[in-house]
């Protein structure tokens, strides 16, 4: 009859190691399960936000931008016509005042027909567009009545009057086409 062998130290270590590995595997599996669930939940939220953003962008493009693209181009085209008389030599203060009032009326019209419409979709974008347009009108106002500026000199007219209008136009399109549909 053979004496029962006592478990060796190595066997004991191996047994405990197996237990530890099993526990660690369970814990890791649980962690991965929880992490994946959380990630899936975030992905769902992101996808929903993306979906809503795309809806807003589509509305913005279809209901606001597309129908008004020609109007925006016409706005600036007409504005160039309004400011053209400013380059005439000998233009009087009264004539300048009339031209400025036309510029302001034109801007007010644009605000009512387009800028306020943008506000129906995104107030922040509306505000930025209005601010940009106001900056243009203010620059033109200051340059028109600055007695140190001779607008009948073509380079001065181009720099002080035409260039701000061109810059305003490209800034407006930048604002519109960089809109991402987010509030």
């Amino acid at each position: 009859m053979c004496c029962p062998q006592l478990p060796s130290t190595l066997d004991t270590i191996a047994d405990y190691s197996n237990i530890i590995v099993a526990i660690a595997t369970l814990a890791l599996g649980w962690y991965i399960f929880v992490y994946e669930r959380r990630r899936d939940s975030h992905d769902r939220i992101d996808r929903e936000l993306e979906r809503r953003r795309n809806i807003r962008l589509e509305w913005f493009k279809a209901a606001i931008i597309q129908p008004n693209l020609d109007y925006i181009y016409d706005f600036y085209g007409d504005l160039f016509d309004i400011i053209k008389p400013l380059k005439q030599p000998g233009i009087t203060l009264a004539e300048k005042s009339i031209i400025l009032q036309e510029i302001k009326n034109h801007g007010a019209d644009f605000r009512q027909k387009f800028i306020d419409l943008v506000g129906a979709v995104d107030e922040s974008l509306r505000s930025r567009i209005q601010t940009r347009l106001d900056e243009l009108v203010d620059v033109l106002t200051n340059n028109i009545f600055d007695e140190g500026i001779n607008l009948s000199h073509p380079p001065v007219y181009n720099e002080k009057i035409e260039k701000p209008v061109n810059t305003s136009k490209s800034d407006l399109f930048k604002l519109l086409f960089s809109y991402e549909g987010l509030n």
Binding site: W59, K96, R111, A120, Q130, V137, N142
Partner: protein, 108 residues
């Protein structure tokens, strides 16, 4: 009780125009128009005779609190515009008031 806000007191040196939101805010604060509108029965707003333009950008910021509080009708009841120079402020003031009061309803 009548109060007077004379914009002659807030002209920038050598300038014949009032433009810009920053300037509007500055004059709103310096003139105490918000406080005066609460306390006075009428406010006389004096427009300088030699001014060329007072732009809506300035007016919108200058009067934003007053117009939001009083509304258009209330504003015109309280404010008396003294405007004897060649430049007439009415259309710019109307534009500024309309902007302040426009309603904003988002589609989404």
């Amino acid at each position: 009780m009548k109060s007077i806000i004379d914009l002659n007191n807030y002209k920038a040196a050598g300038s014949k125009v009032f433009t810009g939101r920053d300037r509007g805010q500055y004059v709103r604060e310096k003139s105490n128009v918000d406080k005066l509108a609460s306390e006075a029965d009428t406010i006389e707003l004096v427009i300088p005779d030699d001014i060329y333009s007072i732009n809506p950008s300035f007016l919108e910021e200058f009067l934003v609190n007053v117009v939001q509080k009083l509304g258009k009708a209330g504003f015109w009841q309280k404010f008396v515009i003294v405007n004897t120079g060649d430049y007439k402020i009415t259309s710019d003031l109307d534009e500024a008031i309309d902007r302040i009061l426009r309603s904003n309803h988002a589609l989404i």
